[in-house]
């Protein structure tokens, strides 16, 4: 088993208990989604006040709600197209809110450079979701690129808990740009039936050229 797989398995057990509790209490999944957004707003506020560790704890709570809403909906047989839409829209609010908290903090500190880095990271994070949503209206699936929402959220938590937010923002920015580029290229390739670069390279390697 990979180490990220082991971490995922370890985190699954407490989450399973929370999901079971929500199912037993028949909490509507849309309310879980909204609760997640509210906690993310609190986390953003704490980030803006430079209380990183407290923000990290609140982010954990917020993202438990974010994670379980879909699972609870499935188990309560309350899945609906609107629920999926609502979840995606609320996720964007949560994402943007955290970035705004940091932009406020850096603006307060007079650090224009980090205001710009954070704003760009926010822009490309939104573009990551948009490119996939738009691509999937044209092609069947566009699940390429590394920096998706779960990676971003975990990075935010790592940055908050270990007080290394600058490094985290650089990683989010660079890998979000790469992810957006991946999705644009993948969609272009699928729509134009162009040959795959990796297959061309692998074939060249196999030929010994």
């Amino acid at each position: 088993m990979t180490f990220t797989g082991a971490i995922g398995t370890a985190c699954y057990y407490p989450l399973r208990a929370i999901i079971d509790t929500c199912v037993r209490l028949r909490i509507h999944p849309n309310w879980l989604t909204v609760t997640g957004v509210v906690f993310n707003v609190v986390a953003a506020w704490l980030l803006g006040l430079a209380r990183f560790r407290a923000a990290g704890f609140v982010m954990i709570v917020a993202n438990i709600f974010d994670y379980i809403d879909g699972k609870v909906a499935r188990e309560l047989r309350m899945e609906s197209p609107f629920g999926g839409f609502w979840d995606s829209v609320m996720d964007r609010f949560s994402d943007i809110t955290l970035f705004i908290g940091l932009i406020y903090l850096y603006a307060k500190l007079g650090r224009v450079d980090f205001v710009i880095i954070t704003a760009l990271a926010m822009m490309f994070s939104v573009m990551t979701s948009y490119t996939r949503a738009r691509a999937e209206s044209l092609i069947e699936k566009c699940k390429v690129g590394f920096m998706e929402r779960p990676e971003r959220i975990v990075l935010f938590m790592i940055g908050a808990f270990t007080n290394r937010m600058a490094g985290v923002l650089w990683v989010i920015l660079v890998l979000s740009i790469v992810t957006v580029a991946d999705r644009i290229y993948f969609t272009w390739r699928e729509l134009n039936h162009s040959p795959r670069v990796e297959e061309v390279l692998a074939e060249r390697l196999a030929r010994g050229a």
């Binding site: 990979t2 990220t4 903090l105 980090f114 007080n163 600058a166 990683v171 993948f186 390697l205």
Partner: protein, 65 residues
């Protein structure tokens, strides 16, 4: 020579044109690289206005001086 260039090109392409699932060894490698960057690079190199301390690389460089 061409072959020598093709292999790194393929590795780089696969690393950046990401098509792997989570919890694969390729994913683990990226996670390790990202965590190394975040935790080891001295915050001063990135101009981090909030971080305290030098980070592991900064601490090692200081000891070597």
């Amino acid at each position: 020579m061409k072959r020598l260039l093709t292999l790194p090109a393929l590795v780089l392409w696969r690393a950046f044109f990401w098509t792997y699932e989570r919890a694969t060894w390729q994913y683990d490698l990226w996670v390790i690289a990202i965590l190394a960057f975040v935790w080891l690079v001295p915050p001063a190199w990135l101009g981090d206005p909030m971080a305290r301390g030098h980070g592991l690389v900064g601490w090692i460089l200081e000891r070597l001086r």
